[in-house]
């Protein structure tokens, strides 16, 4: 078990609601929550893996009751406090906070289109060749746990731990979230697409044995079989 966010394969969630779509922002505050998160992220105090981990670390009761943008907001508040940018006292009473000069990396409207349109590549150079070739059989590691930090961030879902699959693609070497989420460096690794037979993942709960599931797995998530 990792955390509440790691829900792939969970039973009990019922039918998928709102399949017909809807507006980009269903409420005005949704747009504001998204924009606040991106603008605060542009200050450079944390990276995307830290953002994800902050959402994952919401208490399960909050994670389950919050709507999507409520999770974003709560995780943003937690990040701001963790990184020393605001205090809990200021969160409960914003008016009490003194007015401060602008942060040197504050995002100005003129730069928004550039920043959002540029993106951030996660590909990094690594020394050494990829360990696994296309078609190679691999097994994912037996525990979903982050090996660097107890209770830490990882992108290996629990449903795919200790399972045999086949390499079906390599995306070059990319930043390792397990390290980057904790400020331990980017530690880039080769990133693969690994395909699993449905029955390997789901056993007796398999819906159709002809189907497959593919996930992206970093090299340290995998061992040769």
């Amino acid at each position: 078990m990792t955390r509440i966010h790691d829900m792939g394969g969970r039973f009990g969630d019922g039918a998928i609601a709102g399949r017909s779509g809807g507006r980009v922002f269903e409420e005005r505050w949704h747009a504001r929550a998204l924009a606040l998160t991106l603008a605060a992220g542009a200050l450079g105090h944390w990276n995307i893996d830290m953002s994800r981990h902050s959402r994952e670390c919401l208490p399960p009761k909050d994670y389950q009751r919050f709507s999507y943008y409520e999770k974003w907001l709560a995780a943003l508040a937690d990040l701001l406090v963790r990184h020393g940018l605001v205090t809990c006292g200021e969160l409960s009473d914003p008016e009490r906070s003194p007015a401060c000069p602008a942060h040197q990396k504050i995002l100005r409207p003129a730069h928004v289109a550039t920043v959002l349109g540029r993106g951030l590549t996660y590909t990094r150079p690594v020394s050494g060749a990829a360990k696994f070739a296309n078609g190679a059989m691999v097994r994912t590691r037996r525990h979903t746990a982050n090996p660097l930090v107890i209770g830490g961030h990882t992108r290996l879902p629990a449903y795919a731990c200790g399972r045999r699959g086949r390499i079906v693609g390599c995306h070059g070497a990319q930043v390792l979230p397990d390290s980057n989420a904790h400020g331990l460096g980017e530690a880039p690794e080769w990133l693969y697409s690994v395909e699993f037979a449905a029955a390997e993942l789901w056993g007796p709960d398999t819906e159709n044995p002809d189907d497959t599931m593919v996930l992206d797995a970093f090299e340290s998530y995998l061992e040769a079989v």
């Binding site: 922002f25 409207p109 992108r155 819906e207």
Partner: protein, 211 residues
């Protein structure tokens, strides 16, 4: 307990915000503006960017081109990131794109079980259902049941391949071109490629005659 689960006084920081979500955003915005961390007019720009400037029309153009131009299709399947960049579709949550093509043998569908990863540059922001617990938990285990809820009936021969977006790679499903679209322009084709076709939860449909 991990250090992330420890909170002085037992309360995580976010619990100090007001309970109503709209008030919560306002409180946070007020605070961050006072602290010099946020320029409120940048927030308007960001909201406008995702409300009006990027959306599923981008992806639909990519798919339509791949239907019309075999060399574009080949390029898209080989190097989608480079190929869509050449159309100007670059940016956040679209840095590494992989296009996966439906065939008579395989139907592709995309999910992010761990959060809500999605190709923003090609499809805009994800719909609420894509971010729902039900879609995240069920699609990876019972894609056919999920597809049936979306009204998608697969060919008898088709296998399902579910892509779980667990890293920074974003997946674009390239649906099969339906019969009856011969002679349609790129623009007309893009018009029948709805957002959900590129997630894998719908199939392109010709407009009803007379519409």
């Amino acid at each position: 307990m991990s250090e992330f689960d420890r909170h002085p006084g037992g309360r995580p920081p976010h619990s100090h915000l007001p309970p109503d979500p709209a008030l919560r955003v306002m409180a946070l915005e007020t605070l961050l503006v006072r602290k010099g961390l946020i320029d409120p007019s940048a927030l308007d720009e960001i909201a406008d960017h995702y409300a009006n400037r990027v959306g599923p029309r981008n992806g639909a153009i990519v798919v339509a081109k791949s239907w019309l131009d075999p060399s574009f299709r080949e390029s898209l399947l080989r190097d989608a990131t480079g190929t869509v960049s050449s159309l100007g579709f670059t940016g956040r949550q679209g840095e590494h794109i992989v296009a996966v093509e439906n065939t008579p043998d395989i139907h592709n569908i995309v999910v992010c079980t761990l959060c809500s990863c999605y190709p923003w540059t090609l499809l805009g922001l994800p719909p609420a259902w894509y971010k729902s617990d039900a879609y995240r938990s069920r699609t990876i285990r019972e894609p056919r049941s999920v597809l049936a809820e979306f009204g998608v009936n697969l060919l008898q021969s088709q296998k399902v391949r579910v892509w779980d977006s667990t890293a920074e790679v974003r997946y674009l499903v390239v649906p099969m071109r339906p019969d009856g679209t011969e002679g349609m322009t790129e623009d007309q084709l893009a018009g029948i490629i709805a957002r959900d076709c590129m997630i894998g939860t719908a199939l392109p449909r010709l407009p009803e005659p007379g519409q």
